[in-house]
């Protein structure tokens, strides 16, 4: 069952706008992530889809059925909460059976379906335990069981992993991803963690202050962020944003920043003809920066600086490098193949080229290279 949001807005008391004019689509069998910092309106959006919050203006459709006026119970959705929201006074089995009992299904049917869920989620061993005694991961699996047991059209995940410790987080993330794919669940995931969003969903909608910033596949968001907000929100470690200037010298467009000058390729230059801004922000992913070779290649720019901190990431090292030039300083993070012997204070030369960099308007923050599309 696909989900459509059509110009959905939510205002409180006629003044506070929680969500503004939101258009979204989640095709059948896919997972759409709503990603953003706390207070960006993603949870409100989810609650409107669930029917817990009313839509102020706009409409929500499930397939060809408008649901904005329906109470939550009539929408055939299920929801998984951050704090599991289990019924503390009931056992694992009874928690999963709860939605079925509400419908007064025959005992045998309930047994059968709950047992099926217990198997699917590997909860069989603890079926009779009281839920409050379980670990966070187990509790969340019970909550997922309760959500899936009655075969909902849509399943909504509200920060399902945020209360779990790292180990359980990774496990359950994989588990949910697999369930979603194998069972073909149409689902919406609300999260503030970009890793979760990227790993789990087919499409991501990035929100900030109630406004949709960009929606697209994780790959799109990663490669062509629509603005600086999306750029810093997606990717770990986050994209470097460095102030720079565009200068035209004899028909070639140059990018000048702290400690580097880089001639831009004709293709990039062409994309920039529409703009007359000179002050830009250069967006550069840490993984697209490398240690400079002895003799830099022709189209590469080189920045020299001092290592401020080296973060150990196993197969790579993330270096925070302080670049100082022309009286300005910039701190650049570079994700380079590791492990390196570089520690704090070591001087390094970093190289990057213009193929993977993004350029944003210094004032509005919009991506200058994709601005036409927007």
């Amino acid at each position: 069952m696909s989900i459509f949001l059509n110009g959905v807005s939510k205002t409180y008391g006629g003044e506070v706008v929680a969500v503004r004019e939101l258009d979204l689509k989640c095709p059948t069998g896919q997972m759409l992530a709503l990603l953003g910092p706390s207070g960006c309106g993603k949870s409100t959006t989810l609650k409107m889809i669930a029917g817990i919050e009313e839509v102020t203006t706009g409409e929500i459709w499930f397939g060809d059925r408008p649901v904005s006026a329906l109470p939550p119970g009539a929408r055939n959705i299920a929801m998984v909460f951050e704090d599991y929201a289990l019924y503390a006074h009931l056992s694992v089995f009874e928690n999963i059976a709860f939605p079925l009992r509400l419908r007064h299904l025959p005992k045998r049917v309930i047994e059968e379906r709950v047992e099926g869920m217990l198997d699917l989620l590997r909860l069989g061993d603890i079926r009779d335990e009281k839920v409050r005694k379980l670990s966070g991961g187990a509790q969340q699996r019970v909550a997922i069981g309760r959500a899936l047991v009655r075969d909902p059209d849509v399943i909504l995940f509200d920060e399902p992993l945020s209360h779990l410790d790292a180990d359980q987080k990774v496990q359950l993330r994989t588990e949910i991803k697999r369930l979603q794919q194998t069972q073909g669940l149409t689902s919406i995931l609300v999260t503030h963690d970009q890793t979760e969003a990227i790993a789990m969903s087919d499409a991501i909608a990035v929100m900030d202050h109630g406004v949709l910033q960009q929606v697209g596949s994780p790959q799109e968001l990663y490669e062509t962020p629509a603005n600086t907000f999306v750029a810093t929100f997606i990717g770990e470690p986050p994209m470097n944003l460095l102030p720079a200037r565009l200068a035209r010298k004899s028909d070639v467009l140059f990018l000048e920043g702290t400690g580097f000058t880089l001639p831009l390729s004709a293709q990039k230059g062409a994309a920039l003809t529409a703009t007359n801004t000179t002050d830009v922000i250069m967006g550069l992913r840490p993984e697209h920066i490398a240690l400079a070779p002895e003799t830099p290649l022709e189209h590469q720019a080189v920045m020299r600086g001092e290592v401020f901190f080296r973060e150990h990431r196993g197969d790579t090292d993330v270096l925070l490098v302080d670049i100082a030039a022309d009286g300005t300083t910039a701190r650049v993070s570079a994700d380079i193949a590791g492990p390196t012997a570089l520690r704090e204070g070591a001087s390094v030369a970093l190289a990057f080229d213009d193929r993977r960099l993004s350029l944003f308007d210094a004032e509005t923050g919009t991506n200058l290279l994709t601005a036409r599309a927007a």
């Binding site: 706390s38 410790d165 790292a166 180990d167 990774v170 993330r173 994989t174 588990e175 991803k177 697999r178 794919q181 194998t182 890793t195 990227i198 790993a199 789990m200 994780p218 790959q219 990663y222 490669e223 810093t232 990717g235 770990e236 470690p237 986050p238 993984e287 401020f308 901190f309 080296r310 973060e311 150990h312 990431r313 196993g314 197969d315 993330v318 925070l320 701190r331 993070s333 492990p339 704090e344």
Partner: protein, 366 residues
């Protein structure tokens, strides 16, 4: 004359259960020792023993020549940052940070201006300068954590204990603060203990790292030692993003070479490893394979493992494929960008040079 922090064979019981066993650590002034381990391993208890909030049931703690175990918490001059922040709700941010500086036990009197200057410096460093006059109740979790961090770092303490100091900050700030704190603490003439459940953070921040599991130090060493040669399977399971895969199996000798064998798998082991295994021939063992030491190959072929995809998580620059090998789940960090569907069969190669082998019974590295 010794200097630095020494924990000598510390043991601690809670309600009749031993939660810390024979903990011995030495941290020199200017060194950061990172303690990592799963939750409940005893990291926080270790910190509390040093600051005097708990008393050890066995063993002694020395700081320089001073026996800390004899002193009450208020006389130890230890800066302790609590995992739960423990901010004083009735004091604003600046007053919270200044609180330990004005306590009766400090043997140095701070001038008002000095206190003020310290508060400004640290709040600027942690980017909460504009919040100096707010009460903790009006702060977000991340902001509170930074206040607690400032309160600990502001002190001229004999020892610093930082219990999960930056876990609630965003990635960018986390990285920057790690840099700042490392620089600060390596210059201070006092040892620092940094506790974190995130093993990768421990490897990044610590001069040395202690891996604490179930109240025991499983391994104590440099970040490189911990990462490349984990001492036990428990350490291996903790370190890495994602952590190392551990495959149970057995060793068999054939045609003059050693093979790792398990159902449907037979893998020739490289010479250096084989040498180390010889003494435990015939025992069960675990083969440790890092997720980035494997890759997915088109088509089968000799030396590949046949698996089926369990789940696929694309991260842009790489993807993590969880695959089923027999009954075990294996995580593979691949740079291939195409989609892998659930249950799709794949052939996996592994880089034999980065394998680690663990004894099947002792679970120790060979």
């Amino acid at each position: 004359m010794t200097s630095g922090l020494h924990l000598q064979s510390i043991a601690k019981d809670f309600l009749g259960t031993r939660v810390l066993h024979d903990i011995s650590l030495a941290v020199t002034p200017g060194e950061i020792l990172a303690i990592t381990g799963p939750s409940g391993a005893g990291k926080t208890t270790t910190c509390r023993l040093v600051s005097g909030l708990e008393m050890p049931d066995e063993g002694e703690i020395f700081l320089g020549d001073t026996q800390l175990t004899a002193l009450p918490a208020s006389k130890r001059h230890v800066a302790h940052m609590f995992e739960s922040y423990a901010l004083y709700p009735h004091l604003n941010v600046a007053q919270n940070i200044a609180f330990p500086l004005t306590s009766p036990a400090r043997n140095r009197r701070y001038k008002r201006a000095d206190v003020e200057a310290k508060v400004v410096e640290l709040t600027r460093l942690t980017q909460i300068e504009h919040l100096r006059h707010r009460l903790p109740g009006a702060l977000s979790g991340g902001q509170k954590q930074r206040v607690a961090l400032c309160r600990a770092l502001a002190q001229d303490a004999a020892c610093y204990l930082l219990d999960e100091p930056i876990s609630h900050l965003d990635a960018k700030l986390r990285n920057e603060l790690r840099g700042h704190i490392r620089r600060r603490q390596t210059k201070v003439d006092a040892p620092t203990l940094w506790s974190t459940p995130d093993a990768m953070e421990a490897l990044s921040i610590g001069d040395r790292v202690a891996v604490l599991i179930d109240g025991r130090i499983e391994q104590l060493g440099t970040p490189e030692e911990i990462y490349f040669s984990p001492a036990t399977t428990s350490v291996a399971r903790l370190v890495g993003d994602p952590a190392m895969n551990l495959l149970p199996g057995a060793v068999a000798a054939r045609e003059g070479a050693l093979f790792f064998e398990r159902e449907g798998v037979s893998l020739a082991l490289p010479q250096p490893i084989a040498k180390r295994i010889e003494p435990v021939m015939g025992h069960g063992l675990y083969l440790g394979v890092r997720p980035n030491a494997m890759d997915i190959r088109d088509g089968g072929g000799p030396g590949t493992l046949q698996m089926s995809v369990y789940a696929w998580e694309p991260f842009g620059k790489y993807a993590i494929v969880t695959a089923k090998l027999g009954e075990d789940l294996v995580r593979i960090k691949t740079h291939r960008t195409e989609r892998f569907a659930a249950n799709q069969p794949i052939a996996v190669t592994l880089d034999p040079t980065s394998l680690v082998v663990f004894d099947g019974t002792t679970r120790r590295s060979l």
